[in-house]
């Protein structure tokens, strides 16, 4: 088990990003761009949201 919130969230984001990139893109460039974009939005968005919750608590 990995009792670490950040690692769990990043692993989850990687899997989801790879899933949608595989599902929607045939070409390598499109695949990489889509995966990187989804991963970035998920990780940075989660960190921003967590920071907002911490800041407003």
């Amino acid at each position: 088990m990995i009792p670490d919130h950040l690692i769990s969230m990043v692993v989850f984001s990687v899997l989801v990003a790879l899933f949608f990139a595989t599902l929607n893109h045939r070409d390598r460039a499109g695949f990489l761009k889509s995966a990187a974009k989804t991963l970035g939005w998920m990780v940075l968005g989660s960190i921003a949201f967590a920071w907002l919750m911490y800041w407003t608590a």
């Binding site: 088990m1 990995i2 769990s8 989801v16 790879l18 899933f19 595989t22 045939r26």
Partner: protein
């Protein structure tokens, strides 16, 4: 678009094959590389959910949130069924109060929802709506 008899049979068959193993429908339709990749992603998500102490919720749970979770997880098809029959991910005090319970559930529910998306994708490919 009206579906022809043979493509319709093929489409439903491929969609149902996805319940047997994630990505199997894509494999059967000739998208072998994509099928293998999707199999790896969805099964990894499912088993990480079990590894992270997630619960395989029963479809007839009394708590409606657990029931919804069960419906989403059942999208994994055979993985969910075998897991339930093997007694994996049972809801118990130690698991529910564990630090990773929420993460495990998220992984398991997401694996089921991903597989449902795969079923729809396979159907669209089989009937010619998607390449």
């Amino acid at each position: 678009m009206a579906l022809q008899a043979v493509p319709r049979f093929r489409a439903y068959g491929a969609a149902l094959a996805t319940l047997v193993a994630p990505g199997l429908g894509h494999w059967l339709l000739g998208r072998k590389g994509r099928g293998a990749a999707l199999f790896a992603i969805v099964t990894a998500t499912f088993f990480l959910g079990l590894f992270f102490d997630g619960a395989l919720f029963p479809l007839r749970a009394e708590n409606w949130l657990f029931r919804l979770g069960g419906i989403a997880e059942a999208g994994s098809g055979l993985l969910y069924l075998v897991g339930r029959l093997a007694g994996l991910g049972i809801i118990e005090q130690a698991r529910v109060t564990g630090i990773m319970f929420g993460y495990g559930n998220t992984f398991l529910v997401t694996a089921g929802l991903m597989n449902m998306l795969l079923m729809m994708d396979v159907f669209d490919i089989a009937v010619g709506r998607k390449s």
